[in-house]
């Protein structure tokens, strides 16, 4: 379990992270969302023991990042937003190098390397030089490096940046698999729809402050109390609009095109069902009823101003 308690980082007068607190459980894939300069990378670097927090701390399975950074380093896999690869070594040598650093026993190293290569689909590139790999493969190799010591926590800073759609899809699947393996994964990214696909928890940060935290659904519903409903009718749109406007939970309704009404609805799904039933009972000929779901991007844009420190 990862517990972050009032984590704070100051650079002179600038506060990069302002008392961040959250808890993540094994299997959680946490999407860390924020504009450039919001404090995501600073937070990740503090968790990776690269930066010392000004105050507050974080514990991973009870081990404190401030008092026992060496033990923490054995428990985390850190993938920064750059590759940091050695071009002049082979793929297996690179992994063997890090397996040695992470004190993987010598007799297990070959197996471990074979396993992480298989997991990241790089087995055929085992003897290739790192410089000969494509960008997507290099990214997967970085992830393989993070996995050689079987870490509890993975810190992935912008892992999908610069990847083509296929490589992104493969990476997404790989991260989801890591979550299924029971690892805590923290992923920072700008590509919000993708995060919503595989993250079960998200946090939105701006100017070092965590503005929202929870499951994707919780965060979206917490910010967007009202849903947008779209109703398509066969005819009689004027009467239907009058009727809709008088119903409970309806915040605002307007006509979109000749046969469609769009409205803001504040009730839950029960209320939605009752609303649809009353609409039909009142004789309006409904041929379409759809809830437009708010997504992370909407929430992010609503919550943040884009300001940086």
């Amino acid at each position: 379990m990862l517990e972050i308690q009032n984590l704070r980082k100051e650079y002179g007068p600038l506060t990069a992270v302002k008392g961040l607190s959250l808890t993540l459980m094994p299997g959680d894939i946490f999407g860390f969302i924020g504009s450039n300069g919001a404090g995501k990378t600073t937070t990740i670097r503090m968790l990776a023991t690269l930066l010392e927090p000004t105050s507050g701390t974080a514990t991973l399975n009870g081990v404190d990042i401030r008092t026992n950074p060496m033990a923490i380093r054995r428990m985390i896999g850190y993938m920064p937003d750059f590759f940091g690869l050695y071009d002049d070594v082979k793929v297996w040598e690179y992994l063997d190098f890090f397996a040695t650093i992470y004190q993987v026993p010598k007799d297990q190293r070959q197996n471990v390397i074979a396993n992480v290569l298989s997991l990241t689909d790089l087995t055929v590139k085992r003897d290739a030089f790192v410089q000969s790999l494509s960008r997507g493969m290099q990214q997967r190799l970085c992830l393989a490096r993070c996995l050689v010591h079987d870490p509890l926590l993975l810190l992935l800073d912008e892992p999908a940046s610069g990847l083509d759609p296929r490589a992104r899809a493969e990476l997404k699947e790989l991260i989801a698999e890591l979550g299924r393996m029971g690892k805590i994964v923290i992923v920072s990214s700008h590509i919000l729809p993708e995060l919503a696909d595989f993250c079960n928890t998200v946090g939105i940060i701006e100017r070092g402050e965590l503005l929202a935290f929870g499951s994707v659904d919780q965060v979206v519903r917490g910010i967007h109390a009202a849903h947008t409903l779209e109703i398509r009718l066969l005819d009689g749109i004027g009467a239907a609009l009058d009727f809709v406007g008088k119903q409970p939970h309806v915040k605002a309704a307007l006509m979109v095109g000749d046969f469609t009404i769009r409205l803001e609805f504040e009730g839950d799904h029960e209320a939605q069902a009752a609303f649809l039933a009353s609409l039909v009972m009142a004789g309006h000929r409904v041929i379409g009823f759809r809830e437009e779901e708010a997504n992370l991007e909407d929430v992010f844009l609503k919550l943040t101003t884009g300001a940086v420190q």
């Binding site: 690269l50 380093r73 002049d88 040598e93 890090f98 040695t100 490096r145």
Partner: protein, 274 residues
């Protein structure tokens, strides 16, 4: 023994030796360039060995060791400048900082890689030195040994200097420039200024120049040519010890610099705000 294992025999940073070998000796990476360098080095070795073979009886071994030391000045900065600055430049340094490895392990592992480079340079001159030792009429084994000791300890000092500069530099190229500038300052500019300052005062100049590697080697050469070599061994041993001590202190400084960079990234921030 566990110290020896973690620092030397099982130090993961020994990969540096493999990388250096691959960069300079094997035709991988930039294949044509590496191959050209290897062919040129082979030709140079052939010409050097052939020339020395022909005139072995008139070439003192210390003069070959002086040439070897000169090659150190060219080779060592080229292999040591990027050890830390290069890691920073390619941004692999962070990956080492988040790994459970001590700074001293990193420094020693990289040092072993660079020592392999110095030994390769020494091996290049091994045959020519051997030919002159056997062929030269007035070979002094003691002075030759001392010259080799002085040359190797100076090579180590050069590595340490390269490490110290690289530990503080952000880019490999600036580390190379810094190292070369420092070497030029110590070996050329400073002696020149001392010479200018002292005018024709020979004794003080000799005393002040005693620590200069080429001057010290020249003194050994002169002693070898003279009928009596008494009095040359002591200063050479002292200078070698001074180089080793200087190298040790510079390595300590390097470890301390890297330690201070850990944790808060203070080093990089300081540079950024500078």
């Amino acid at each position: 023994m566990s110290w020896w294992k973690s620092m030397v025999t099982e130090n993961p940073m020994l990969i540096e030796s493999r990388r250096l070998m691959r960069r300079f000796l094997r035709p991988s990476g930039n294949e044509s360039l590496n191959m050209a360098v290897m062919i040129l080095a082979g030709l140079a070795l052939l010409i050097l060995t052939g020339s020395i073979w022909n005139a072995a009886s008139s070439i003192p071994p210390i003069s070959v060791i002086i040439a070897q030391t000169g090659l150190y000045v060219l080779v060592v900065p080229s292999i040591s400048h990027g050890v830390f600055a290069g890691e920073r430049e390619r941004r692999s340094w962070d990956l080492l900082l988040v790994a459970p490895i001590r700074k001293s392990q990193i420094v020693i592992g990289k040092l072993l890689g660079c020592i392999a480079g110095v030994l390769a340079t020494t091996a290049f001159f091994f045959l020519p030195v051997l030919i002159t030792v056997v062929g030269y009429q007035r070979t002094s084994f003691l002075l030759t040994f001392l010259a080799e000791l002085l040359s190797l300890s100076f090579g180590l000092l050069l590595i340490a200097l390269g490490f110290a500069v690289s530990a503080r530099a952000k880019r490999a190229f600036s580390a190379l420039g810094g190292t070369i500038a420092l070497i030029a300052m110590l070996l050329v500019v400073l002696p020149y200024l001392i010479g200018l300052g002292l005018g024709g005062e020979r004794t003080t100049f000799d005393t002040m120049m005693a620590a200069h590697p080429f001057y010290a080697l020249w003194k050994l050469y002169e002693a070898g040519e003279a009928t009596s070599s008494a009095g040359a061994a002591g200063p050479a041993i002292l200078v070698s010890l001074a180089y080793l001590l200087g190298a040790f202190l510079l390595f300590l400084y390097t470890v301390r610099t890297l330690e201070s960079e850990d944790g808060d990234g203070a080093f990089r921030l300081r540079r950024k705000h500078a």
